[in-house]
Amino acid sequence: MLFDYVNVLVFMTVGVLFLVGSLLAARLASRLLHSRIHNLDKLTNYECGERPIGGTAIQFNIRFYVIALIFVIFEVEVVFLYPWAVVFKDLGFFAFVEMSIFILILLVGLAYVWCKGDLEWVKPSEISLARERSSQEHGEILHR
């Protein structure tokens, strides 16, 4: 069995060599080919031809983290499903019940997250909040 993993090792080695080789080749090519004229437009970040607004160092939205968190928890669940799926046919109905309980417990978590609106990119509560805020700002502008 260990010998089968030599395939993986070969793939890994070739992959690493390819990566390092292409990086070195790109480095060499750019060393040879790049022009030596610098101006402001060339040094700015490329944003599809638009003028960039602000810096690149922005704070990420917390929503990314919540999604990643939910992903990790359910990924662990999937890893538990693998060995069960391998032996499911031999163990029969009892194993099915056991795994159903396992999944049902985690479904409670999914239901919680879903009901609280964490799976929506824009939360329902924040839509109304943003609407209020924008109407306020609108009012201030009118007031001025």
Binding site: L2, F60, V76, F80
Partner: protein
């Protein structure tokens, strides 16, 4: 001989990148060194005939926990200040404590008679692990799902929390 060379390569990758994790001044370098540590450890698992656990190591640690840690880095650091926010201190007392424990454990490893002989035949482990989960370790298995549920609800609740000003 061949096996020893492969083992040495994986062990070296693991230990060097672990050192990078703990001592690098740049937190992004630390996070990416952790990737190589996890890879090296997965390689060691393969050498130890734990094939399913090697895959699990890559799935959970590299695919899950490392991504979470990177999100944590991105959420708590602006890119310019990444270099500054990672100095170390208390090095001398910590080194004394660690060296003392290290010496103790080295003596223990050196002096003990470890079992050497009956290296088992290398066979796929997934089915046997599944059977153990469904029979002997049924209760921990179900409790693991409770742990995951609690972690999910708690972490989402904390991460969502409103900022007090």
């Amino acid at each position: 001989m061949l096996l020893v060379i492969i083992f040495t390569i994986f062990a070296a990758i693991t230990i060097i990148s672990a050192g990078m994790v703990a001592f690098s001044q740049n937190i992004v370098y630390s996070a990416f060194s952790l990737l190589f540590t996890f890879f090296g450890i997965a390689g060691l698992y393969v050498l130890l005939a734990a094939d399913f656990l090697a895959a699990t190591q890559l799935l959970i640690y590299v695919g899950g926990i490392l991504v979470l840690l990177l999100f944590g880095v991105m959420l708590t650091h602006k890119i310019q200040e990444v270099n500054l926010s990672n100095e170390s201190m208390r090095l001398a007392p910590a080194a004394i404590v660690v060296l003392a424990f290290l010496g103790l454990l080295s003596i223990a490893i050196y002096r003990t008679q470890w079992p050497t002989v009956p290296v088992p035949e290398l066979t796929p482990t997934t089915a046997r692990i599944g059977t153990l989960f469904m029979t002997d370790y049924l209760l921990p298995f179900e409790i693991a799902s409770l742990v995951l549920l609690t972690a999910l609800v708690g972490a989402v609740f904390i991460a969502r929390g409103r900022v007090k000003k």
